[in-house]
Symmetry: C2
Subunit: 356 residues, 2 copies
């Protein structure tokens, strides 16, 4: 199949839901995708099984603070400069690009990058959601050495990092990103199809499209979305407090939702670091990273991203299980609660919400 | 000729004098050079004229805060990793390495790197002195595009930067350096001998050796050094005040010297940013960057580096002309007083000290 202009709104809605509040503004990515498809044509969506072992896949994503990406959008040449660097280093042209992060803008914008490059998009990503740090990708969890990061910024600089490990790839890429104005495009790993097998999360572009379409024409969009995701509803209420700051290339803060209607008197607090990381009620954890927690508009079931949180919004909070990869010991070490500084033992959202 | 163990003390003394207070601790570089020559043999010193046009020259230097390099010395593998990256990018082995910066440790340590790599050292550098920023090199002033920076840190990370210009090479390299602990090894440009001609400052390794030997056995070391350098003596006195801070990968501050003996009542202030940049007396500039200003011990004429400045030291301050390249409009734009934030029109030290 191919991704057409008509698919972009659903893809954007789905990616925003999977973004758990982060991953950048899907609107910017959508406009870029529509514009690029109009100019360069539809983007073929390929499956990993369709690629020969030695085919090169370039996982791309934006890196930086979402609040900055609102005002400073990607240039049009960053993907080209990164692919040129790949060709220089590997001596051959990539066969496909891949989203590093299906959640948020990084799930939608790759359609624009693929169209512009004349390359197919792989139906897969490295997270199945959004995460704030460079090493928080399936390739790292699967044990592939973090051996190559290629970055390009809007100015035209290209930086190639050969890190000793995933944590250094994050530290160095973040420093470069902040120096470039807190926003850059990045290839995190360059994979042969053979190495990608088992090290990427497959089918996630299709999944984002399905999630985005779940609410189309539904009588109860929230219910329809919840069913499609297999999500628990943590609260329905009103946003009463938002505290956010942009620091070191990240957005950090908290958001508080107070129950309304039948839920009056309840109060849920979300801890944010670009994404929604932990949901707390009366000091009890209701859901935690790496499981997905998304704030949606109660009426339309559209995702409300971290940077769109506003006092008085009528919202519901949904939580649902992450990909099984994140629940392995290496997955939890990489992106479990302790990786974000929370002294919490991970408990799956299904168990925490079984009586909710 | 070759550089032997016996040459290192004179080379170190000369490099410290040319370092104008900065460029890192020559003692660390000396120990590394002596140890490497002992293990790998003498280092051939080659002239640019001896190299064929297509020979590759790799200009190397440490980047970072001198106060940090005291405690965190280079590892032994950084030069090797950088040369491996050069070989990967250019498909051939370099013919020589070059010091980016003859002043300070970066003038001495390349002997160790060359010995370890089994490569000759080019009798040239990119400054003829020390400067604190990446783009402040003769290659940039000569108009060579700042197209490649390769960095390696003690951890083993390798970062390759293709900057859009020299200022971005500084900004990105500095960010990587700070992320890596405020200290890294860097190849700034990779030059063919053909491109290096006219774009490097030749003969500066030999010059540093001569400057270092000028005081050997001299009855009046200060006089002998002053004659060899063609330097003016700005003051002889006592260090009465030193203010220093390490910030953003730099050491910044001021040092005040009060005249003693016949010079009692005079007071000279030095403005520092890794190097000594401006010398002021009664609000009048006595010497300014890019001319060289070095504090020396009055008795031995040994250089006192910025990080070695101590209350009560008996010192003299010497100032002498920089290489003609730095006095061109592009040279002054790159490393003149305004490049460091001083609202001063450059006046050559010979004119400022004509009546001194």
């Amino acid at each position: 199949m191919s991704i057409e202009i008509n698919d972009i709104p659903a893809l954007a809605r789905g990616c925003a839901i999977l973004g758990t509040g982060g991953g950048g503004d899907v609107r910017t990515g959508s406009l870029a995708a529509i514009r690029a498809i109009r100019a360069y044509g539809e983007v073929p969506l390929v499956r990993l099984a369709d690629l020969p072992d030695d085919a090169l896949v370039v996982p791309l994503s934006g890196i930086g603070a979402p609040t900055v990406s609102h005002e400073m959008i990607h240039g049009e040449d960053e993907p080209k400069r990164i692919v040129e660097e790949v060709e220089r280093l590997f001596g051959r042209r990539p066969s496909a690009i891949m989203s590093c992060e299906i959640g948020g803008a990084n799930g939608v914008a790759p359609v624009a990058w693929a169209a512009r490059l004349g390359l197919p998009l792989l139906d897969a990503d490295g997270m199945g959601r959004a995460f704030p740090e460079v090493q928080m990708v399936s390739m790292y969890v699967a044990g592939l050495p973090a051996e190559l990061v290629i970055m390009s910024d809007i100015v035209g600089n290209v930086v190639t990092i050969r890190p000793v490990d995933g944590l250094w790839s994050e530290r160095l890429a973040r420093a470069v990103c902040v120096a470039a104005g807190s926003h850059a495009l990045m290839a995190d790993y360059v994979l042969t199809a053979a190495r990608a097998r088992g090290a990427v999360i497959e089918g996630t572009v299709t999944r984002a499209l399905e999630v985005g379409r779940a609410t189309e024409g539904a009588a109860d969009p929230l219910r329809a979305l919840q069913d499609r995701l297999g999500a628990a509803r943590l609260i329905t209420g009103k946003l009463t407090d938002v505290e956010r700051r942009t620091t070191g290339g990240f957005v950090r803060g908290t958001a508080t939702i107070e129950g309304t209607g039948a839920e009056r008197g309840r109060r849920l607090t979300l801890e944010l670091q670009n994404e929604n990381l932990v949901a707390l009620e009366n000091g009890e954890v209701r859901a935690m990273v790496p499981d997905l927690i998304t704030v949606v508009d109660t009426e339309t079931a559209a995702a409300v991203q971290t940077e769109g949180l506003r006092y008085g919004q009528r919202v519901s909070v949904l939580a649902w299980p992450c990909d099984a990869l994140w629940r392995t010991p290496k997955g939890l070490e990489t992106a479990g609660p302790r990786a974000f500084g929370y002294d919490l033992d991970y408990v799956p959202v299904e168990e925490l919400t079984a009586h909710g």
